[in-house]
């Protein structure tokens, strides 16, 4: 079952909605939890034990952390002033041990399930290169759906309790729902306990306004995913599989259109996820905010897969930057190389860790690690050269607030993103470089002139449809960037215009969607990460 399949859209979701509406409010969470477990089971079957195991683990670790905090508070009340610091430190140590245990077990499971093949494969290659006649037997472990997403949610829950931002939840059912809520289990957004747990539990009524608004958001997601992303699938697959056969012009097309496919696929799925939750009266955090209007790579990552970036920022970047060794490093470096570059060294170390994890999180392959490192280098060099750029701009009297300058920044950022995504999709890092190389050494427009481009799985009509709907998404993105709510605008029109728009959307999806026997069904792309 996937979010864009018939079984989900016409059976699972409507039945869940009906069951949710007819049961009394206090039991609605049960419907959501049951539906979530059923959804998980339909995809991963017995592997559901992983998520159940994680739920139990974080439930008890959370309670343990809170017990330690309560115990400490009790002792602090009675304690003398001079003893308080010591008690605090002692309990912090205890809590840290418990937290480390909880996080390591959770992350450990993810590491084993997701990376054992990759690590074992690399070890075997190394042994072979060194001519050591020994080969590791790599067990094949099946990966439960959404493990990369719910593990991060589990970790954030424990860390937030440790930092006393939230209280441990004594209700394991609520915690379980927080981890497995079916619309978000496959691809996120990666939510914090404080954002969603209570909302999921409340069992808000399904209102007519929410239903309409949620369905509109879902249909926007379907346009992105089914009309644009899935239509591109065959074309992109052919280019990345057989890139050696084609010239640099095709490589450029493959690079640009893959980025388009990934964006439409992932953000379209997010529209589906957030729209579905909206129907239940649940507000999930946004995961995209018009990323292609970013002026630099740092900004891009605050607009693309926002919740992942925020997770790494809050749970890796800040804790590392504020750790004692890095704080010391900053103090020393500040004295030696100044106020700007001094703190940058510690930031660079933390940033390196963030991007290494980010790359690896996407999958067990060198292409993903390269993808992470590529962004690390771009962001770090952006910071290193910032004073120089500001100085040059001032010398040349360039007004950085002018539209043309911003436009150039957006184009530069987009080009850098294209290259990153090329490596993200490439089968190996080497093939990524070969593809990139072809754009410079073997560039030609011949494939466009002689019709080769139309023999890779898409015809002229396909290109036209993709162009039309990409323009539509672009226009809507501009409106969103200007804080105009398109859905609100539609809802204010009279019934004839409103209904015409609804029918146009529905029939555009039904007629131009890439589904049925002429297309391969494409799983949401981030579900594999």
């Amino acid at each position: 079952m996937t979010y864009f399949g018939v079984a989900y859209l016409f059976m699972f979701l409507p039945l869940t909605l009906i069951a949710y509406s007819i049961v009394p409010q206090k039991h609605r969470w049960k419907v959501l939890l049951l539906a979530s477990y059923a959804f998980f089971w339909s995809i991963s079957k017995k592997l559901i034990v992983y998520v159940i195991g994680s739920t139990f683990l974080i439930h008890y670790i959370g309670i343990w952390l809170e017990l330690l905090q309560n115990e400490r508070n009790g002792i602090l009340k009675e304690a003398e002033k001079e003893q308080k610091k010591k008690i605090r430190a002692e309990y912090l140590k205890k809590q840290r041990r418990v937290l480390t245990f909880g996080v390591l077990v959770n992350i450990g499971i993810l590491l084993v399930v997701k990376y054992i093949g990759f690590i074992g494969g690399n070890v075997n290659s190394l042994l072979q290169t060194l001519k050591i006649p020994f080969k590791l037997q790599i067990p094949k472990i099946l990966m439960p759906i959404g493990i990369s997403f719910y593990t991060l949610q589990a970790v954030s829950y424990l860390v937030d309790i440790y930092h006393e931002k939230i209280k441990a939840d004594k209700n394991i059912a609520r915690l379980s729902l927080y981890l497995t809520f079916f619309p978000q289990i496959m691809e996120g957004p990666i939510c914090r306990y404080s954002e969603t747990a209570m909302q999921l539990w409340e069992g808000n009524k399904i209102t007519y306004a929410n239903l309409k608004s949620g369905l509109l958001r879902i249909s926007y997601g379907m346009i992105k995913k089914m009309i644009i992303a899935d239509r591109l699938n065959r074309f992109i697959g052919e280019i990345y599989r057989n890139y050696a056969k084609y010239d640099g012009g095709i490589m450029v097309a493959g690079m640009v259109l893959y980025t388009l496919q990934l964006y439409m696929d992932f953000s379209g799925t997010m529209d589906m996820v957030i729209g579905t939750s909206e129907i239940f009266g649940i507000k999930l955090p946004e995961n995209f905010k018009q990323p292609f209007f970013s002026k630099n790579i740092s900004e891009f990552w605050t607009r693309w897969h926002i919740t992942l970036g925020a997770f790494f920022r809050d749970y890796i970047f800040y804790p590392l930057s504020l750790s004692e060794p890095l704080k010391k490093l900053t103090t020393n470096a500040r004295k030696k190389i100044g106020k700007y570059y001094g703190p940058l060294i510690a930031s660079a170390i933390a940033l390196f860790c963030v991007w290494f994890c980010n790359g690896l999180w996407h999958g067990a392959a060198w292409t993903f690690i390269f993808f992470g490192m590529y962004h690390f280098v771009l962001i770090l060099s952006g910071k290193i050269f910032e004073p120089a750029v500001l100085w040059i701009s001032a010398k040349l009297h360039i007004n950085r607030e002018k539209a043309w300058y911003k436009g150039l920044q957006i184009i530069k950022t987009t080009l850098l993103v294209f290259v990153g995504e090329l490596f993200f999709r490439a089968t190996t890092v080497t093939s990524g470089f070969e593809m990139l190389g072809k754009m410079f050494t073997n560039f030609s427009l011949n494939s466009f002139k002689d019709g080769t481009i139309l023999k890779l799985g898409m015809d002229v009509q396909d290109f036209i449809i993709i162009a039309i709907f990409t323009i539509l998404v672009f226009v809507i993105s501009i409106m969103h960037e200007k804080d105009i709510s398109v859905r609100e605008k539609i809802s204010k029109k009279n019934i004839v215009i409103r209904w015409t728009i609804y029918y146009l959307i529905i029939f555009a999806i039904l007629l131009f969607g890439a589904y049925g026997i002429n297309y391969e069904a494409v799983q949401p792309m981030y579900a594999n990460f």
């Binding site: 018939v6 059976m11 609804y502 039904l510 002429n518």
Partner: protein, 325 residues
């Protein structure tokens, strides 16, 4: 109340538009030019074959149209067959197509590829069948690319005779994994139960054949991915109980000389390719000829079209060989 009425009107208009679009998008003939699609076209020939010219009707899922070659049997034995198999055909569909066939044909033998007997008819599948039947625009939605003026006013009428008589020619070859093919028919006593709904439809098919004076039998094409001894036992049990003849070619892979490196389309061994199908067809042909009174029309002038079809089929094979080189 007002809102409920509005919803009903909205949904009503939706279905009206869907029905209107269906009229436009449904292919107006069973030709590839009319947009019927290669796979869908296979079965449509049963509507266009001249009346009372087919001797054997074959039913079933993809196992049927990937293993039984009517034109090869024509060439070797002179009797005519048509494969009314469709992808993932449910036994209820088999019954439907048999009814279609009996309307214009008087076959002497009806054969069902028994893999379909283990396929359950799920809700989603039911829904899909219903939708495909009443709103074909969804199945043929891609036809927006080549709609013609005629699509807006013509009603569908099938006229094309399908050359390969329902067989799906494929030279795709993959070596079947050792783990899949080794011991896939290891003898045991376990018998996999055939769903009761399917048994009901099987009986209906049997009765329909009896009513139309056709012999009914079952066969299984070799398929390590889809078959095992438990299923064999299950079908054998039902066949015995209902008095239906049954040959399981999975038990005869050595006799047939099936080469798992060359005769299958997929690594898992789901379907035979042309060379594999040829072996199954030759075996079935001999079996059918020896055990039944089947006519030989090869010298009959009114069956000249079959010779032409056979020649076209040979050309298709030659062309695919050239393409492979």
């Amino acid at each position: 109340m007002k809102r409920t009425i509005k919803c009903i009107v909205f949904v009503g208009i939706f279905f009206i538009i869907l029905a209107l679009l269906s009229k436009i998008f449904v292919p107006k003939n069973n030709t590839l030019e009319a947009g019927i699609g290669k796979r869908k076209q296979l079965v449509t020939g049963i509507y266009t074959e001249p009346e009372n010219t087919i001797d054997v009707i074959v039913l079933g899922d993809s196992e049927s149209y990937n293993s039984y070659i009517p034109l090869e049997l024509w060439n070797q034995y002179g009797f005519t067959s048509y494969v009314c198999g469709t992808p993932a055909q449910r036994i209820s569909n088999s019954y439907y197509y048999l009814n279609v066939a009996f309307k214009r044909q008087k076959p002497k033998i009806v054969i069902l590829e028994a893999n379909a007997l283990y396929t359950k008819n799920g809700y989603v599948r039911h829904l899909k069948e219903y939708v495909d039947k009443y709103f074909p625009v969804l199945e043929f939605h891609d036809r927006w690319k080549n709609l013609t003026k005629e699509d807006f006013y013509k009603t569908p009428e099938y006229t094309e005779i399908v050359n390969d008589k329902g067989y799906r020619f494929s030279t795709k070859t993959n070596k079947v994994k050792k783990s899949k093919r080794d011991n896939f028919m290891k003898e045991n006593e376990v018998s996999k139960k055939v769903p009761s709904d399917n048994i009901k439809h099987l009986k209906e098919i049997k009765d329909l054949c009896k009513k139309n004076d056709a012999k009914f039998m079952l066969y299984n094409s070799p398929s390590p991915a889809n078959w095992n001894y438990d299923k064999h036992n299950g079908i054998e049990k039902i066949a015995k109980k209902l008095g239906i003849e049954y040959i399981d070619l999975n038990l005869k892979v050595d006799e047939l000389k099936i080469n798992w490196k060359k005769d299958c389309q997929e690594k898992r061994g789901e379907h035979l390719n042309y060379t594999g199908a040829l072996k199954v067809t030759s075996y079935l042909g001999e079996y059918l000829k020896n055990n039944n009174d089947l006519p030989d029309h090869r010298e009959d002038k009114s069956f000249e079209a079959w010779n032409e079809a056979y020649n076209n089929f040979q050309k298709e094979i030659e062309e695919s060989k050239k393409a492979d080189v």
